[in-house]
């Protein structure tokens, strides 16, 4: 049982399940309590019959009564055990489902700022481990808690009512068991984590060693790798043995204590039976048998204490981490936006300064950027790695917030256009050609509405991007699932597929972020020619580090170290921009030696 605003609402939502579950658990605990008592009673009655207290008919009646009680109690326990599992465990699974959903829904709204700070691996750990920790605290944690408090309390109370002296004798061993559970249990869990960590390290090491096998082989380092592996292999083995040792130590310790207590109880009990025989409140043999059973029933709640502490503290820590994600502010929001749904394609950068949110004051990636793109123009933005080209794209897509009037689309401040509208009207081709593991068809149709995903249109786009021929070569053609068994796409194929994806939207503005860098020059030429044709009258922006990509653009913006060096056509720039001329010279032969 852990509380926090991220999950409190789900306690309410699934209150019926929790309540039914807890009630069932209480019924089971209560019913279970009767079993030793009944069996003790049975023993006593049989004994009484032997000593002649009951007649044959009487004892048979009693026997049948007891059997019936047992039947009823069994039914209660069976139904109760089923119910609490479905109730409490079911509720905990449902809460995990909801929290997972909450987290993903929130993640969908978080901006690149968040994703640049957080690694996917770390976020995945939240989704996998932390949700599991919460579920454990809610499900098994709650059951253990109820069991410990009620079962433990009731059993103790029962024992106390049967015989206070005997109960007091048992207090010390019980505390001993709980303490052993906490101390050894903690050690055991620590060692378990160690063993798991060792296994993960081993697994990671194998992964890395085999990924870098070309290097290992080239430098003939197999022996060193094997030596290193054996060290981890040994560590994994030893850590596992250490864990089992502690696990067994805990088990043996508890068993030893329990068995000694059993003996003690029988010895002391015998004594009590003798002393109290014939008094008003005798301690019977049946009482002793019941005591033995009750003591057995107390072992679990005592052991549970340590598990509850552990499950709760982990659950609480996990909850905090998850809450931190859910509390992460959403920074791309519409404020004071105008009611704009369509965009023509005029773009103006107006003395724009930009630094990433986590960068230091004054550490600008873009400095005083000013230039204009008119609707229908094909514009190249050229610069070296790290010059700030991609930042320009990110801003156009409103992935970051800007100051007033630094960037205007159709003469309107981008901050006053709903960001959904901005993105709806821009076709974007990412540099890495990121695709989803879905069919090729669905990938190309990503930007289209569900109803308008005609095959003809999709094929047409694939042809324009010069990737159709590759697609039909796959066994399943357009229904090939990317990333599935054996289907791996080259960087160039990925880029061309993402070009098709962006074109399919037929957007007023198309942005290609160095999108043909992995495509050979002749294919690049073909794609550029197609683009020129179908992008008539619409704005196209091509980011590139290769001259060949932007040579024929209406306008080329040359960027270096976050500043605009010059804007002009290829010929104009050749003439007046030394930086541009230098780039041209450097690159041309390099491109050409690759051509057949």
């Amino acid at each position: 049982m852990i509380f926090s605003k991220a999950i409190n609402k789900y306690y309410l939502k699934f209150a019926h399940l929790f309540i039914i579950g807890v009630i069932a658990l209480l019924v089971v605990d209560l019913a279970q309590l009767e079993v030793p008592l009944i069996i003790g009673q049975l023993v006593d009655d049989l004994e009484a019959f032997r000593t002649g207290e009951y007649s044959r008919a009487e004892i048979l009646d009693i026997l049948s009564d007891i059997i019936w009680t047992l039947v009823i109690i069994s039914v209660l326990i069976v139904v109760g055990r089923f119910t609490w599992r479905i109730g409490i465990m079911g509720a905990s699974r449902r809460v995990a489902f909801e929290v997972r959903d909450d987290m993903f829904r929130h993640a969908l709204k978080l901006s690149p700022r968040f994703y640049s700070e957080r690694k996917v691996g770390g976020l995945m750990a939240l989704f996998i481990n932390d949700i599991e920790a919460i579920r454990r605290a809610l499900g098994p944690g709650m059951i253990m808690f109820v069991d410990m408090v009620f079962l433990g309390g009731l059993v103790f109370w029962r024992m106390y009512t049967i015989d206070a002296r005997m109960t007091l004798v048992l207090v010390f061993p019980l505390i001993l068991i709980a303490t052993a559970g906490i101390i050894l249990g903690n050690k055991m869990r620590m060692r378990f984590r160690d063993a798991q960590k060792a296994f993960e390290d081993l697994s990671d090491n194998v992964q890395e060693s085999l990924s870098g096998i070309t290097v290992i082989k080239a430098f003939v380092k197999e022996r060193q790798e094997i030596k290193h592996f054996l060290r981890q292999n040994r560590n994994t083995r030893d850590k596992n043995i250490r864990f089992v040792r502690m696990q067994m130590a805990l088990q043996v310790t508890v068993r030893a204590i329990v068995s000694l207590v059993f003996v003690l109880m029988i010895a002391y009990g015998t004594n009590l039976v003798q002393i109290t025989a014939g008094t008003a409140d005798p301690f019977t043999i049946g009482d002793l048998v019941a005591f033995l059973s009750y003591f057995g029933m107390l072992i679990w709640p005592m052991m549970a204490i340590s598990m509850i502490i552990n499950v709760r503290s982990r659950g609480r820590a996990s909850l905090q981490r998850i809450e931190a994600i859910l509390d992460e502010p959403i920074d791309i929001v519409d404020e004071n936006t105008l009611d704009i749904t369509e965009i023509k394609g005029d773009i103006e950068f107006n003395h724009l300064y930009f630094r990433y949110p986590d960068a230091e004051e004054g550490d600008h990636v873009l400095k005083d950027i000013s230039f204009k793109i008119n609707q229908g123009e094909m514009v190249g933005i050229l610069g070296r790695t790290g010059s700030g080209k991609t930042s320009i794209v990110d801003l156009l897509l409103r992935l970051y917030n800007l100051k007033e009037n630094e960037l205007l689309i159709d003469g309107v401040d981008i901050m006053r256009i709903p960001f959904k509208t901005v993105r709806e009207n821009i076709g974007y081709v990412p540099q890495d050609g990121f695709l989803f593991s879905d069919t090729i068809k669905n990938n190309i149709a990503l930007g289209l509405e569900e109803g308008s995903r005609e095959m003809d249109h999709i094929e047409e786009m694939a042809k324009l991007s010069d990737v159709h021929d590759n697609i039909v070569q796959f066994k399943k053609g357009y229904n090939t699932i990317i990333g599935e068994r054996g289907v791996t796409l080259s960087g160039g194929q990925k880029q061309r597929l993402s070009i098709a994806r962006a074109l399919a939207k037929n957007p007023p503005i198309l942005i290609m972020d160095d999108s043909v860098s992995a495509v050979d020059t002749s294919t690049e030429e073909k794609i550029l020619k197609n683009l020129k044709k179908i992008r008539q009258g619409k704005t196209t922006i091509m980011i590139a580090h290769r001259i060949s990509t932007v040579k024929n653009a209406d306008k080329i913006v040359v960027i270096d170290e976050g500043e605009v060096l010059d804007v002009g056509t290829h010929d104009e720039l050749q003439e007046r921009c030394a930086f541009y001329r230098d780039l041209v010279e450097r690159q041309q032969l390099e491109d050409e030696v690759e051509v057949e």
Binding site: L42, L46, I66, I216, F219, M248, T385, E592
Partner: protein
């Protein structure tokens, strides 16, 4: 990463074969198994003794007057038997665990060593993830087999037989009644295992689907947002998440039915015992103490049956894992040392390709009769389109693959006549994508070779200009390298790979130049150190950069697996061939 393994058998091996091979790993440790076996038998006997002693002591209690000395004796035996049985079980478990872990250790060593020595081709065919699963996870499954199955199946059988035996000994009539219930317990346990396994697998599959979806979409969030697909993606996620919840609740249902049903069977047995046993006590044919003993035996009767059902599952998984492991072990490398292969101590660095024909797959020749000669300390650049065969030529020199016809000579010796390890140790390889291991800069240069001194590392880094950026790092040569070296730029990685090569003192160097964009400053450092390295030994380069091409002694122009022309920059220009045409193109616009 979020994949699941199937438990499916491939049936490449017969059960007998698998058992035989699995046994061969255990046989060297037969003494330990025998010892645990003995310990196990003793602990079972003690465990069987317990309920009986409880009954005996109760019977002693009901006698008047109570025979205290006899009771004390029984109690002492009782306490001792419990503690001893716990002690024996402790010893048994630990010895078994140690043995099992050692067997797994040996197996892992064998699999890893085997995989590590496979050919290049092997690694292009089998995804790394699969191999990792073989080495790490499949062997883990076998640990369960050796520790939990081999001895404990007998333990459980012994327990079941022992308890039944004790019951019959105590009272045959009651025992027969219990025997009537037993088939239900067995059938139900096994049926449940089947269902729970299936349910569990479905949960795992759905879980990995959800996690796979998450991992993909968290890394591609930018694209999702730019295409305004938040809602659709949420729907997709919700579908998968719901499917996961459904399968989880199903699994829960299976357990929710199983546990109470098992309890029900137990209570039915208990009621039968008390119903009939109670009658017998009344008739005087049974004592109360024996009845209690019987009840206690019954309580211990269910556990071993349930465990057997579980062990049956483990055997199934273990067989599937063994099959996969054996399949790996039965595949052997093709590129091997010839029996008369020699060790080369000194290498001058003369390389000759004589009419080399090579293909990766049938009927698709990648190199068609390539011949060229490189003199010691010469540098050569290979130029040509993607797929011309440039990279292939370099990989043939280190025998990553064997050629189909022709000859490759090093210092006049056919490379197949040189020991593979010797050949490769003389050739320094710098690949296009520099692979970095997690560790430190130093460990990435020495590649965990403890014979290379720190000074050598520093000298090498200085020589190739890598020291400039390394010296600026807070921990310098001990600066951590994260997975795949992604905390270093492409240019820095290139420089580290130069140092890595240099420190291994090769006489021949192979460089597949990076195509990645490298900032100008680093690019200059790279070019400068490249020029220096050309003086150290023979150098073969797949070149992409103009400045590299201009500095080599010889240029070889390749086209579709054939050499078009070769010669120095000047010679090629004079020939007015393909290279001349390429070079001219540069000035076309000016």
């Amino acid at each position: 990463m979020y994949d699941i393994d199937t438990d499916q058998r491939l049936n490449n091996y017969s059960d007998k074969e698998i058992l035989k091979r699995l046994a061969s790993y255990a046989i060297p440790y037969w003494k330990y198994f025998l010892l645990t076996f003995l310990l196990m038998v003793i602990s079972v006997i003690f465990a069987l003794f317990e309920p009986f002693l409880i009954g005996v002591s109760i019977d002693l209690l009901t006698e008047t007057p109570i025979d205290l000395s006899q009771l004390t004796l029984v109690l002492v035996i009782f306490a001792l038997s419990i503690i001893l049985s716990a002690g024996f079980e402790y010893m048994q478990t630990i010895i078994l665990q140690k043995t099992g872990q050692t067997i797994v250790y040996n197996m892992r060593e064998e699999v890893f060593t085997h995989v590590e020595r496979q050919d290049y081709e092997y690694f292009t065919k089998i995804p790394t993830g699969k191999l990792v699963t073989r080495v790490a996870n499949d062997t883990n499954t076998l640990n369960e087999m050796y520790t939990n199955v081999i001895v404990n199946v007998f333990r459980n059988l012994l327990m079941i037989v022992g308890i039944l035996g004790a019951m019959f000994w105590l009272n045959a009539e009651l025992a027969l009644l219990i025997l009537a219930v037993t088939p239900f317990i067995i059938i139900f346990s096994f049926v449940f295992r089947r269902f729970s396994r299936k349910a569990y697998r479905t949960v795992r599959a759905n879980m990995s689907r959800v996690n796979g979806f998450l991992a993909e979409h968290l890394s591609g969030m930018k694209v999702v947002q730019i295409f305004n697909k938040e809602e659709e993606k949420h729907e997709e996620f919700n579908e998968k998440n719901t499917e996961l919840r459904r399968s989880e609740l199903r699994e829960l249902l299976v357990f929710a039915i199983y546990r109470p049903t098992m309890y029900m069977l137990f209570m039915i047995s208990t009621i039968i015992i008390f119903l009939y046993g109670g009658r017998q006590v009344v008739e005087g044919t049974l004592t109360v103490g024996i009845l209690v003993s019987f009840y206690n035996y019954l309580r211990r009767f269910f556990e071993p049956i349930q465990q057997l059902a579980e062990q049956f599952n483990i055997v199934q998984s273990a067989f599937a894992s063994s099959e996969r492991i054996f399949a790996i072990l039965d595949e052997h490398p093709q590129v091997l040392d010839e029996p008369d292969a020699i060790e080369l101590d000194e290498v001058k660095g003369e390389i000759e390709f004589k009419d080399v024909w090579f293909r990766y797959v049938e009927d698709e020749w990648v190199l068609k009769g390539v011949s060229f000669k490189v003199n010691p300390k010469e540098s050569v650049a290979f130029v040509g389109a993607t797929g011309a065969g440039k990279t292939t030529i370099l990989s043939l020199l280190t025998r990553d693959y064997d050629i189909q016809s022709g000859q490759i000579l090093l210092d006049g010796i056919d490379i197949t006549k040189i020991k593979l390890s010797s050949l490769r140790s003389h050739v320094g390889v710098m690949l296009q994508d520099v692979f970095m291991f997690s560790g430190t800069i130093k460990s990435n240069i020495t590649l965990r070779d403890e014979d290379i001194t720190e000074q050598e590392v520093i000298d090498a880094c200085k020589y190739v200009n890598a020291d400039k950026f390394i010296e600026k790092l807070p921990n310098r040569y001990d600066e951590p390298v994260r997975e795949r070296g992604n905390n270093y730029s492409a240019g820095q990685r290139q420089l580290i790979s130069f140092a890595r090569t240099l420190v291994h003192k090769p006489n021949i160097m192979i460089l597949d130049e990076a195509t990645a964009n490298i900032d100008t400053e680093t690019e200059e450092l790279i070019q400068e150190s490249l020029k220096k390295m050309m003086n150290i030994g023979t150098m073969l380069i797949v070149a992409h950069r103009l400045s590299t091409i201009q500095h080599v002694d010889k240029i070889i122009v390749l086209q579709k697996g054939e050499i078009l022309e070769q010669g120095s920059h000047q010679e090629l220009l004079r020939q007015k061939g393909h290279y001349y045409y390429l070079y001219k193109l540069q000035y076309k616009d000016q």
